[in-house]
């Protein structure tokens, strides 16, 4: 069974159908690039999948647990960094990760925090409060809380947004290192990231899946990815 199973998911905000009938599944070892224009329903789909929003219809199953029926179990297997990587700004990086570890009830939280700080190269800012960090570090803190429990499913909403090329490289490197053991969904606006990071592409526009195929097939659609993107999302 796939680690992520999304079936006929629907969500409306008032009269706006943000997500119309979205279905897909993601297996271990896959890194799915979520593409789509702003407002296409990417973030809403992620919010439904992570149990933050309740779907109007359809189901989302994470590691075998339905996120509506069994939310706590599903969320225990899930790491999620929302758009903009929010964090408790007044806490230090170490305190924040420690809180995440304790809330998740992890055994030996101090060791987990130390390992995660190292993995995400946050050791030098561990004692700084999150509010004082640069954007690059903040994004990494968001990433760190999402992987502290080494989850089977990892969902990242624009994890490289606003980073400089070196920082982007760094986040991709960490992600690639762990991808083989997880089912990963990454939303992005950066089409080049597909080739670097993903094994599969799902394009969402107007709340619908417009394309769901392997990276190789997607890249064969044309030399100019921007044009491919425009055509698919029109």
């Amino acid at each position: 069974m796939a680690l992520i199973e999304v079936s006929q998911l629907q969500k409306s905000y008032g009269a706006i159908h943000a997500v119309k009938n979205v279905s897909f599944s993601v297996d271990r070892g896959e890194v799915v690039g979520f593409l789509g224009p702003n407002g296409a329903g990417k973030s809403t789909t992620m919010k439904l999948l992570t149990g933050y929003l309740r779907p109007d219809a359809g189901t989302a199953v994470v590691a075998g647990f339905d996120v509506v029926e069994n939310p706590v179990a599903a969320k225990a297997h899930l790491g999620y960094s929302p758009e903009g990587a929010p964090a408790y700004g007044e806490m230090t990086v170490r305190e924040f990760l420690r809180f995440a570890a304790e809330l998740r009830g992890l055994a030996n939280p101090a060791q987990r925090v130390a390992d995660t700080l190292k993995l995400c190269r946050l050791e030098e800012v561990a004692g700084q409060s999150v509010d004082t960090l640069s954007k690059g570090y903040r994004m990494r803190v968001g990433f760190a809380q999402a992987v502290i429990h080494d989850p089977a499913v990892l969902i990242l909403d624009e994890p490289t947004d606003g980073l400089d090329p070196n920082q982007k490289f760094e986040v991709r490197r960490i992600l690639k290192d762990m991808a083989a053991r997880k089912a990963v969904i990454v939303s992005t606006h950066i089409l080049e990231e597909i080739d670097e990071l993903c094994t599969r592409v799902i394009v969402i526009a107007q709340g619908e899946v417009r394309c769901d195929e392997s990276k190789e097939r997607f890249l064969q659609r044309g030399a100019d990815l921007n044009q491919v993107f425009r055509k698919l999302t029109a």
Partner: protein, 253 residues
């Protein structure tokens, strides 16, 4: 990093305690806590001395000290409770917290009790008042204890109202002002001037019923040494109704 593909479901209660600890410590991460504790103490003591004339009265009792606590809680419980949910919304961390393996109720309970304990710690710092009275005279210690219990319950009721205000907005200022106004009304109910206003509009029996809803009317028996079921139930009802309603508001997001 140790690989743990099937991260276990956390043991029940882990999230509650983690949230409670974080929230309680959170007050002390900013100067807010110290300002709060100083203001509470300064007002609690100066109101008792300068308005309540606790010293001139010459009676070894703290009833004139507790008399002003509904006013203090009406102002300070919303100040401490404003951040409960408003701050989570403003920082965007609500989305984080609610996608971690914790139920809304567990998180809400942790937050609420942390805030209530914080208010309790403000109350504890006034204990020298009690010691002073014990030193100067021979008060009934049981009465003082029941006064503190009543004040703590009163704080919980105001916090319940503050929690609702905080769940409705992303602005701590709006949460504070609306919470304060709602508590303020509950303080006024039961005061002479307000009663006269009510008597103009309602029958005497109705006015009496309305007066029972005021904070002071319910705190008064505690300051006389009575831990009655009715006022206890009143404070706890307001506290937990506020907690429940605010949680439902957050859950509906």
């Amino acid at each position: 990093m140790n690989h743990n593909p099937d991260s276990p479901t956390p043991r029940p209660g882990a999230a509650f305690w983690a949230v409670l600890r974080r929230e309680f410590a959170g007050y002390f991460r900013t100067p807010l806590a110290y300002v709060f504790l100083a203001v509470f103490n300064a007002f609690a003591i100066s109101l008792a001395f300068f308005i309540g004339n606790i010293y001139e009265a010459g009676v070894a009792s703290l009833d004139r000290f507790f008399l002003y606590h509904p006013w203090l809680w009406a102002f300070l419980a919303p100040a401490a409770g404003a951040r409960l949910w408003a701050e989570e919304r403003r920082q965007g961390t609500l989305e984080l917290l609610l996608t971690w393996p914790v139920t809304v109720w567990e998180a809400a309970l942790g937050k609420f009790f942390a805030a209530w304990l914080f208010l309790g710690s403000a109350l504890l710092i006034t204990l020298p008042m009690a010691f002073t009275v014990c030193y100067l005279g021979d008060p009934d210690v049981g009465v003082i204890v029941s006064g503190y219990v009543g004040s703590f319950l009163c704080a919980g009721a105001c916090l319940g109202i503050a929690a609702i205000a905080s769940a409705l907005t992303r602005s701590q200022v709006i949460a504070f002002v609306t919470g304060f106004l709602a508590c303020f009304v509950l303080v006024l109910v039961g005061y002479g001037v307000f009663d006269e206003l009510l008597s103009g509009a309602f029958a005497t029996g109705t006015v009496d019923e309305i007066r029972r809803l005021g904070l002071w009317r319910n705190l008064e028996p505690f300051t006389l040494g009575l831990i009655d079921l009715r006022p206890t139930a009143y404070f706890l009802t307001v506290a937990f109704a506020g907690l429940g309603l605010s949680t439902l508001i957050v859950e509906r997001r």
